[in-house]
């Protein structure tokens, strides 16, 4: 079997805040076309890992490559083109309305003509399941679920190859969360996306993730859902079995 292309390559990552070590010599890879779910307890460094990969947090030590390029080069040249991020709280630009939020990368990075933007923005909104009327709303007027959707539309504005989602379904009702998962799956299928998502939602993990990464003991354990569920680590056992028992 031919090895799939490595989209993210993290080797020997050490991150620390002062003397507190968050990740201790962590190795992890993401392959093209997969949906990787990252789980872990609160404070286990899920968001820090994401920030390190995105270059928002400088690791103490380690080697990070994205699409085969060194991270620094990638951040300077390719970041906006290849990468979309849905932040935990949406991070919509509060001074711009929904339309301008989504149009922002199209204008500033892709330099599209206004008439095309005026068609693409409603299209992106339709893709994430929002009515066109949302266009002229300000971020502060949106509900939590709508903020997530608009933020996803902005992350998808340039059709990135790699999508980071930080707790995309947190704060959504189960139906909306299910629809969101469905949406990610269709987008992934149609657009050749690779998705890395931080989630606490077991349903999402089961429904869409091809592989799961668990952050425990300052390190990471990756595998398919089945492999992870069978892993003897007590936290993992508790996480998967405990919830399962509670759901029955």
């Amino acid at each position: 079997m031919m090895a799939a292309q490595e989209i993210i390559h993290v080797r020997n990552l050490v991150t620390a805040f002062g003397s507190y070590i968050v990740h201790n010599h962590l190795n992890f890879f993401v392959y093209a076309g997969e949906i990787l779910g990252i789980v872990g307890g609160s404070g286990s460094g899920k968001t820090v890992l994401l920030d390190s990969i995105l270059g928002l947090h400088k690791p103490y030590q380690g080697d990070i490559k994205l699409f085969g390029y060194p991270q620094e080069f990638f951040i300077q040249k390719l970041m906006a083109i290849k990468l979309g991020v849905l932040f935990q709280h949406g991070a919509l630009f509060s001074s711009l309305n929904v339309f301008d939020n989504i149009a922002f990368p199209m204008r500033e990075i892709a330099h599209l003509k206004e008439e095309l933007i005026a068609e693409l923005v409603p299209l992106k909104l339709a893709l994430v399941g929002l009515p066109v009327e949302t266009c002229w709303k300000k971020p502060e007027e949106l509900s939590g679920g709508m903020v997530k959707r608009v933020a996803l539309a902005r992350a998808l504005a340039l059709d990135p190859k790699l999508l980071f989602l930080d707790e995309p379904t947190a704060g959504l009702d189960p139906i909306a969360a299910g629809a969101f998962d469905e949406l990610i799956l269709t987008l992934k299928r149609n657009l050749n996306l690779t998705v890395v998502m931080i989630t606490h939602d077991l349903e999402s993990l089961r429904a869409i993730c091809t592989r799961v990464a668990v952050l425990v003991d300052k390190n990471i354990i990756t595998g398919t859902l089945k492999e992870i569920e069978a892993h003897p680590h007590p936290w993992i056992q508790h996480y998967f079995k405990g919830r399962q028992a509670a759901m029955r």
Binding site: S94, E115, L116, C135, W136, D159
Partner: protein, 372 residues
């Protein structure tokens, strides 16, 4: 044309897309397809099997073009439709999405008149709101004092931040103003041979007006704005709601200690500013008039009366109250997003300085009537 080739056969147009149809290479393709004249054709064939890369934007352009053909009654065929395209087309809405008009933009015609009326009513309403806030703060002050639950700890924290930490900047500015005033006065008064009265001028203007005004303006810029930004961010973070839900009054917890702290520290700062200003004057007198410290003090003791000192000091707590009140009021008015914090902070500083100057004028009138 790059990435698209065109063939014509009778009344059939054959378009063959190839290469990259992604968002970064679309502007010319979009322009071409959008303005392609279709009058001469009855059939359009769109071949997509040679596409290397396609994304939603590229798919949209093709979809949009095919829709346009359909609308004109031209029969279309898409042999060997690219796999991705087929799936994406299903996701696209059946009808063209019309961007709804921005209602706010539609009202532009009456905009000027509307904004005039809106601003006027808003200004009046804000004055009333500030008045009602003033009442609330005073009532809450007495309530919390009687309950014996006055927040002493934050009071000292705010006194440190608004008073102690302001000492360097207030001192330096006042000192420099003392120097400049003496320098200017000596320069003018020398023509009459009355340089010695520069000291009188400094003593009177500093003690009655300048020390307190300069302090109030610095404090409004330094602490008033900080109050607004702090409380405003807390409001956005729902901290105010959290306090309310715990059955606590945000005015009692957040506003009272700030107001009291400023009322206590501003007079002290003003006094300190006066002393520093007079010291600056002494330095300048020493250099430009070769006046010894003893002489300076002697002249000062004749010029500086208790009444002019009191006239300045009496205003300080009032100004402090205005600055803290406006700062906290604007902070509690923050709503929406980060932009609002900026707006309110600006407004807080401008308003409090404006009100300080207004009240200073009112005090002048009152003191004139009282004959001090």
């Amino acid at each position: 044309m790059k990435n698209i080739s065109i063939q014509e056969k009778d009344h059939t147009l054959i378009l063959c897309a190839s290469g990259q149809w992604t968002i970064f290479s679309l502007n010319h393709l979009d322009h071409f397809l959008r303005h392609l004249s279709l009058k001469a054709y009855t059939t359009v064939v769109f071949e997509t099997e040679h596409l290397e890369d396609i994304d939603t934007a590229g798919a949209w352009i093709i979809y949009h073009f095919l829709q346009r053909c359909k609308d004109k009654g031209i029969s279309i065929s898409t042999p060997n439709l690219h796999k991705v395209l087929g799936e994406l087309f299903e996701k696209f809405p059946q009808e063209m999405i019309q961007l709804p008009k921005d209602e706010q933009k539609a009202k532009r015609l009456l905009y000027l008149l509307e904004i005039f009326g809106y601003r006027t009513s808003l200004g009046l309403r804000r004055a009333l709101e500030l008045l009602s806030f003033l009442g609330e703060v005073i009532i809450r002050f007495f309530v919390s004092s009687f309950k014996g639950s006055f927040p002493l700890k934050p009071l000292f924290v705010y006194m440190e931040y608004t008073g102690l930490r302001a000492l360097p900047i207030v001192g330096i500015m006042s000192f420099l103003i003392g120097i400049v005033l003496i320098y200017q006065a000596v320069f003018q008064l020398r023509r009459f041979g009355a340089e010695i009265f520069a000291v009188d001028m400094l003593a009177i203007s500093m003690s009655r007006e300048i020390a307190i005004l300069i302090t109030a303006i610095i404090v409004a810029g330094r602490s008033g704005s900080a109050f607004t930004a702090q409380i405003g961010t807390m409001k956005l973070n729902q901290e105010i709601d959290a306090l309310r839900v715990l059955g606590m009054n945000p005015v009692e917890i957040l506003v009272i200690p700030r107001v009291v702290a400023l009322i206590l520290t501003l007079p002290l700062l003003a006094f300190y500013a006066l002393v520093m200003g007079l010291l600056g004057g002494a330095l300048m007198c020493y250099f430009s008039l070769e006046m010894s410290i003893e002489q300076y003090m002697h002249q000062l003791s004749q010029a500086l009366t208790l009444s002019s000192f009191m006239v300045g000091m009496v205003k300080a707590p009032f100004f402090a109250f205005i600055i803290a009140l406006v700062g906290c009021f604007e902070g509690l008015k923050v709503s929406g997003g980060a932009a609002s914090v900026g707006q309110r902070t600006t407004r807080s500083v401008v308003e409090s300085i404006f009100l300080v100057i207004i009240f200073n004028a009112i005090f002048s009138v009152i003191f004139t009537y009282m004959g001090v």
